[in-house]
Amino acid sequence: MSRPLEHDYIGLSEVSSMESSEKISSASSTVSTEEEKSNALNLKETELRLGLPGSESPERKSGAGVGVSLLGRTVEDKNGYSLGVLKNFVSGAKRGFSDAIDVSGKWVFSGNGGSEVDMGKGAVLFSPRGVNGVKSLGVLENANQQPGSAAPALKDVVPPSPKPVQDKKPQMPAANDHVAPAAKAQVVGWPPIRSFRKNTMAVNPAKNNDDDEGKSGSACLYVKVSMDGAPYLRKVDLKTYGSYKELSAALEKMFSCFTIGQCGSHGVPGRDGLSESRLMDLLHGSEYVLTYEDKDGDWMLVGDVPWEMFTDSCRRLRIMKGSEAIGLAPRAMEKCKNRN
């Protein structure tokens, strides 16, 4: 059951069956391309339709959403060791992405041409492009009403059983080495955190539509706001603001303790009128630039589009140091220069 070629427009390729451990060993070096490809695969998939085209079972195309689970195969896998197989399925409790690996162990890859995935360990480090590539999928999934989990990261997770791992030095693509797959697949129900807890933890509800919880996404639109150099994120409800000015003022208040350099219990931030205006200078000046990540996963400068369009497409906010915004858009850089 291999992926139909007509869906191969992004340059998918199929790698032959990973039946031998050696191949699995070498798989780790190809994992980066796997992720890239899987990213693009799902990107394309979610653009085309809700279900997953080209997946082995056509019945999987359903609006209810898809989830990922690792399925071991029994006798079908003749390799003598259990090969975890990623499989798509549509479940009533839908979540996450899926990636199709067929029964015989063929790996299906999708390409995302050019995204560099940094193979960090544990807390995985992405290059910004990789991040965006990954994030966009989650966003797209959500745009298609599929309740993605909070972090729409992707990964080809097809671990061979640990037995071969033991025989050789551990070489499972999922873990081992120092090379953990950078983009992690959204496995259904993993980590085992209860839904209510996900919702409370600075998660954008637009990304985390728990159908079975029946929460309406339109009641509020929480987005995470991060500020470079700040020790933690904040969360704001975009629906409570009517304009960029209001949002900007609120953010200034929220993050003033970081910009001014005071962060303690001795003062209530933002009450000092003088500091407020100084903040505005800081935020609008060369030091910080307000950016946001839109539905497509691109980082944009805040303020370009009409407010309603902005609230519709904004997924998260980031108060970036002006110097970092240089790569973002030429305009940002000009803006910085102009303020100086």
């Binding site: 079972s57 019945e59 359903s62 689970s69 399925l71 071991g72 195969r73 029994t74 259990s82 975890g84 399925f89 549509v90 479940s91 009533g92 409790a93 839908k94 979540r95 544990g122 807390a123 995985v124 990954v134 909070a150 972090a151 990261a153 997770v157 671990p159 640990p162 037995k163 030095k169 551990p170 499972m172 873990a175 081992n176 950078a182 259904v188 129900g189 993993w190 980590p191 085992p192 955190i193 209860r194 839904s195 209510f196 996900k198 409370t200 933890m201 600075a202 728990d210 159908d211 079975d212 919880e213 029946g214 929460k215 009641a219 020790p231 933690y232 994120l233 303690g264 219990s265 209530v268």
Partner: protein, 583 residues
């Protein structure tokens, strides 16, 4: 023991029976509260069985499908309090499709005729509709306590019915449910002359309630002991509530961040100073170092501090903990990092339970905080009484776990979740087998274990060999072959609940437990190697088990993706949806 004597000599038994009237026996047995003890009592002899069943007022049913409401009411005529659990635990993580079942309504209908004096209903992972809630509210005039944890199927409209009709309501505990939050007006439906509330928990509801109604409610319910509000209640509002409730033993605050004037802040501080009876504190969402100090006076008698909604940093936690000298249970987010856990180790010598939740479980790029193996060790060094741990981390080592159980050998609940599947020992890159091996070898009282990380069958050999008191085991992404599961089923005599996902266990493993499943509450296996034929074989061999397979669309017909096996005296389910196949 009297029971033994009765069994040995029938003549004496008759004498005993006549000099020991049933009423007395029932009265005595009324003091036996634990349901396990009551089960034992009921097995002694027929007289005791009858005395027990007539005197039982509270029944706990761990799996709603293990028995039917008809059987229940036939055996126990005088029940006033029912606790029911429904779906398999993995439904918390979306592994069970919607409309799977565990609907309470059939039970309520039977209860309405048999237990018209029902007072308490506590449900976990069950489905309850608004219609059922209304039916409940109107069918039981004495109804007092409703607790819904992880339930679904209802909306805040259903709560309105409860609130409006249950004149004697003492407890309304709505926790972590998947419900339709249609607004906060349900709270305003408490009648103005209603004063009996003792427990009110609506912390996980999102909509804002009418604060004036809440304030009036709190003011007139003089017996209120537990109050947990939701995030929409501001600090200033909280202060107004606290003025009326100095007798609170459990408080869940709303959002703990608001711009307060100095005067408002000192009012808040003095309101907390009046809360000297608090044992439990939770909520505190968005708490910052600005206002946490206002809490300190209220922490004097705290035994349970739940900071799992508050993304505290290590410094904030370190400043807060010394004010809680009697802390026994602590729940935090991993934003406190290892440094925060060091503070736990140094400030909480009486700590018995620690739960560390991930603030960003699904984010890989922006990881704020996070705890590692060193935080775990740090806690164990200072908190020698620790016996319950739930620890989410991204890396762990075998040696760290060994150090932890060396410091704390009395673990009864050890739940370690290394969040990346198949993650090996961070330093040695080896499997985490030895970590769990040392846990089961050292912690002889271990009742509950959750494993994670890169694990081979060796882990399960250890578990089968040493974990003789283990009752609940959760396994995910672990094991090498059927042998793993076989070891556990063969070696753990007290095993009651086994839940497995994404492991290479197949039919041989499943069938090796043939003899075991009837003494267990349930078995869950999903994304393993079990086939339909294996399940059918199990069902055929063990007719008193319900063997259910949840079919997913588009799946292979021979593969059994989700298998749920449980013992039941009620026979196969009659309400199974089409995607649940009973074999």
């Amino acid at each position: 023991m009297a029971s033994k004597r009765q069994k040995d000599s029938p003549e004496e038994e008759k004498k005993q029976a006549s000099s020991f009237p049933d009423e007395v026996l029932e009265c005595v047995l009324g003091f036996v509260k634990s349901h396990r003890d009551r089960s034992s009592v009921s097995l002694v002899c027929k007289d005791w069985y009858n005395a027990e069943r007539w005197s039982r007022t509270h029944v706990f049913i761990g799996n709603c499908y293990s028995v039917s409401p008809e059987i229940l009411v036939r055996r126990f005529p005088n029940i006033r309090s029912v606790t029911l659990k429904g779906k398999p635990r993995f439904s918390d993580f979306n592994l069970v499709p919607l409309n799977w079942g565990a609907d309470i309504h059939a039970w309520l209908v039977v209860f309405a005729s048999a237990y018209s004096f029902l007072e308490e209903l506590r449900l976990k992972r069950m489905t309850i509709t608004d219609e059922s809630l209304e039916f409940l509210a109107k069918s039981f005039p004495n109804f007092k306590a409703l607790s819904l944890v992880s339930c679904d199927g209802f909306s805040t409209d259903g709560l309105k019915a409860i609130v409006a009709h249950c004149k004697n309501l003492t407890e309304l505990d709505i926790l972590e449910n998947g419900i339709d939050d249609l607004g906060g007006s349900w709270l305003s439906c408490f009648p103005e002359n209603f004063t009996s509330l003792e427990v009110l928990n609506f912390a996980s509801l999102n909509s804002e309630v009418n604060f004036d109604a809440l304030e009036r409610l709190v003011a007139r319910c003089k017996s209120l002991k537990v109050l947990k509000v939701n995030k929409n209640v501001t600090l200033e509002q909280l202060q107004r509530l606290l003025v009326h409730t100095s007798q609170l033993t459990e408080l869940g605050t709303g959002s703990f961040s608001q711009e307060l004037t100095l005067r408002e802040y000192s009012e808040l501080e003095s309101a907390f100073s009046n809360c000297k009876n608090l044992y439990t504190l939770s909520g505190l969402s968005e708490a910052t170092s600005l206002y946490l100090p206002a809490l300190y006076p209220a922490c004097v008698n705290l035994t349970f501090l739940n900071l799992s909604d508050a993304a505290l940093q290590s410094a904030e936690l370190a400043k807060l903990l010394p004010h809680c000298p009697h802390l026994r249970r602590l729940w935090v987010l991993d934003t406190v990092e290892d440094k925060g856990l060091e503070a736990v180790g140094s400030s909480c010598p009486l700590l018995e339970e620690l739960r560390v939740f991930p603030a960003e479980p699904f984010e890989q790029d922006v990881v704020i905080g996070g705890v590692t193996e060193s935080g775990f060790v740090a806690v164990s060094q200072g908190c020698r009484k620790l016996h319950y741990v739930l620890y989410f981390c991204r890396r762990m080592t075998n040696s760290a776990v060994a150090a932890v159980v060396k410091n704390c050998p009395d673990f009864t609940h050890f739940r370690l979740c290394i969040m990346n599947p198949w993650e090996p020992d961070y330093l040695t890159k080896e499997p985490m087998d030895e970590a769990f091996g040392v846990v089961v070898k050292t912690c002889t009282k271990l009742q509950r274990l959750a494993v994670s990380g890169l694990l081979t069958d060796l882990t399960f050999e250890y578990i089968g060999k040493y974990a003789k008191n283990l009752e609940t085991l959760s396994v995910a992404f672990a094991g090498s072959s059927d042998r793993g599961m076989q070891c556990v089923l063969a070696g753990c005599p007290k095993l009651r609940k086994l839940e497995i996902r994404d492991c290479p266990f197949g039919n041989a493993a499943l069938l090796s437990g043939l003899e075991r499943y009837e003494s267990m509450r349930s078995l869950w296996m999903s994304a393993c190697h079990v086939t339909m034929n294996g399940c059918r074989l199990l069902a055929r061999e063990m007719p008193r088990l319900n063997v259910e397979v949840i079919k997913e669309d588009g799946s292979d017909d021979t593969h059994a993706e989700k298998v749920y096996v449980y013992r039941s005296v009620a026979g196969p389910r009659r309400d199974a949806p089409p995607f649940v196949l009973t074999l």
